[in-house]
Symmetry: C2
Subunit: 348 residues, 2 copies
């Protein structure tokens, strides 16, 4: 079968690799229908971190059809249409029961990879997979896009808003205008935020943010941007959703909270340094990490998507085939695409 692989910085390739098999009792093998490229995949592509090994497939988002299941799987069966979260919680440990399946304590190997491929082996499938009614062919392409965001970015944006305790009437600043930042805007609106300030310099992303619920946008950066954000938030936000992960973004978030407000951070941190004093005297709070994808999908997000209440799939602005993986990465790297959508197989 075909799989995308990371060849080297700025080079993705498609290789023929063996079909994945059931290796453990709680595995499932999924035939991928749609996959995509994540902002976090761009870190190694850009050579910013060197955690990605040669020949690894960094994809961790997919929707597809269950092909085979291991003997321990009773919740899905071959032929079922499923969302494949990037997290693989057990649903039973204290982390999962508290709604933090992104930090499941039972399964150490609880993140996905290999999803930019025709088939994937999905570990710990019993609780983590999210079943979608019907077949892919029952849905419009727009709805398939919505469903695919439930593998990561919509749940991750929702996580930022949840851990920052966004409440009805709040003023919220969203740092990051990628797919996760855009989905965080949707989440803040779902939770009743009154004023949602996006921070994009790009017209297409500003427009999408506004469509998702942003009431204001501050395009400026650095000191000018901070001054405008403080002005727009009446001196500081009730919640800052940090959807980037750089130290710069984090330090900016710290300056944008009103005392007692929370920073919800979901961008994978890259050399973020936090001094105890910097957060203490303003009573700034900080929470976040890998999202609780399965929890949110099952509790809130799948329902909201299927009812048409939210349309996070609009973050997919450009469509590619799996063979065209290099261009899918490049389009995001050049910010021509907000998020690249990959048609892997027919929606049967």
């Amino acid at each position: 079968m075909k799989s995308a692989v990371f060849e080297s910085v700025r080079n993705m390739a498609i290789e023929e690799v063996p079909m994945p098999q059931i290796e453990k009792d709680d595995d499932a093998v999924i035939k991928v229908v749609r996959s995509c490229v994540c902002g976090s995949d761009l870190w190694p592509f850009r050579g910013i971190d060197n955690k990605q090994n040669h020949s690894q497939n960094p994809g961790h988002e997919a929707i597809g059809i269950v092909e085979k299941v291991g003997p321990a799987i009773t919740t899905v069966k071959p032929g079922d249409f499923v969302i494949c979260p990037f997290t693989h919680g057990c649903g039973q440990c204290r982390a999962c029961r508290a709604g933090f399946d992104g930090s499941c304590t039972r399964f150490a190997d609880h993140f996905s990879d290999g999803n930019q491929a025709e088939y994937i082996r999905f570990q710990h499938a019993q609780w983590a997979l999210v079943k979608v009614p019907g077949r892919p062919s029952d849905y419009s392409e727009g709805m398939l896009k919505n469903l695919l965001t439930l593998a990561d970015v919509m749940a991750t944006g929702y996580h930022a808003a949840r851990v920052a305790h966004v409440r009805a009437g709040d003023t919220v600043i969203v740092l990051g205008d990628g797919a996760v930042g855009q989905c965080a805007i949707i989440a803040a609106r779902m939770m009743g935020a009154k004023k949602i300030i996006s921070t994009s310099r790009h017209a297409d992303r500003q427009a999408l943010a506004a469509q998702f619920g942003a009431t204001d946008n501050v395009a400026e950066r650095d000191e000018e941007g901070i001054a405008k954000l403080l002005d727009a938030s009446d001196g500081g936000a009730d919640a800052v959703l940090e959807c980037v992960g750089t130290d710069q973004s984090f330090q900016e978030a710290l300056r944008l909270v009103r005392p007692g407000a929370m920073i919800g951070r979901v961008g994978v941190p890259h050399d973020q340094k936090i001094s105890g004093e910097s957060t203490f005297f303003v009573n700034a709070g900080l929470a976040g990490g890998p999202a609780s994808v399965t929890t949110y999908d099952k509790a809130v997000l799948l329902d909201a998507v299927l009812k048409g209440e939210i349309e996070p799939g609009k973050v997919f602005t450009t469509t590619f085939t799996l063979d065209d993986i290099q261009n899918a990465y490049e389009a995001m790297d050049r910010r021509e695409a907000i998020k690249s959508y990959i048609v892997v197989s027919d929606a049967e």
Copy 2:
């Protein structure tokens, strides 16, 4: 009038200083009835930080009688019995309205000092002072001790539990066995925590913790202590209340939370270094800072004390006169006293 002053490391003295006066319209002058020594006063006394100036009076906790008020003060009048919080919120800015008057944005000079003295000038007295019914002579010495804790430590312990979102049924670990840690135990119990694990090596502090609601105690330190705390908390607490402020204590807190749990930190941080990665993958949250003393006193704590529901005054284990200030510090420094209580004037 007499005032305690910081002379040099390990040396407190009593000096004759001018009576404080009304300098600003919203000042009040308070005749101090009872004051005390705070754990944070020990940092300069021990020479660990050099933020304390010679001749400064570090005291920031008192109860007393209003002597004079400035023309802007309408909420209290001479003769009123009041608690003097260490914080001086305005009650109206967004921080105060959100319940974070310890980080009031209107008043920059919103912390107390000078309270180990016969009289104090209390700035921004209009909202911050907490009126107590009757006169000091109406209350037992035990109740005066309870009331004095509402100037700082009981409210600070309550803050740790509040920002860590302690909920009914939770397992809570409290780091720090001083007065704030002890009061954090009271607060965790008020919020319905089921299992409260204290961390004292001292028999008197273990006994007080148990009296306040601790269900378990782990006396061991370092790796052995962490292993026992993880065991006692079934793999990690739902909330860790960090009432010390050292980097060591903070790093320990990070290892003691279950995924998604919050660390409520109220110990003034001393060189705490937090890496973004260390909190991210376990979804650890972090919040805290100067307590919302006036908010908690008026909303919850004064009532709980007057009804006899909580007895935080038991943290005062040794009584001194103001003249005996050096011994009051030394008793805490040597851990002979949990907290030193200072009788400044008669409870008339």
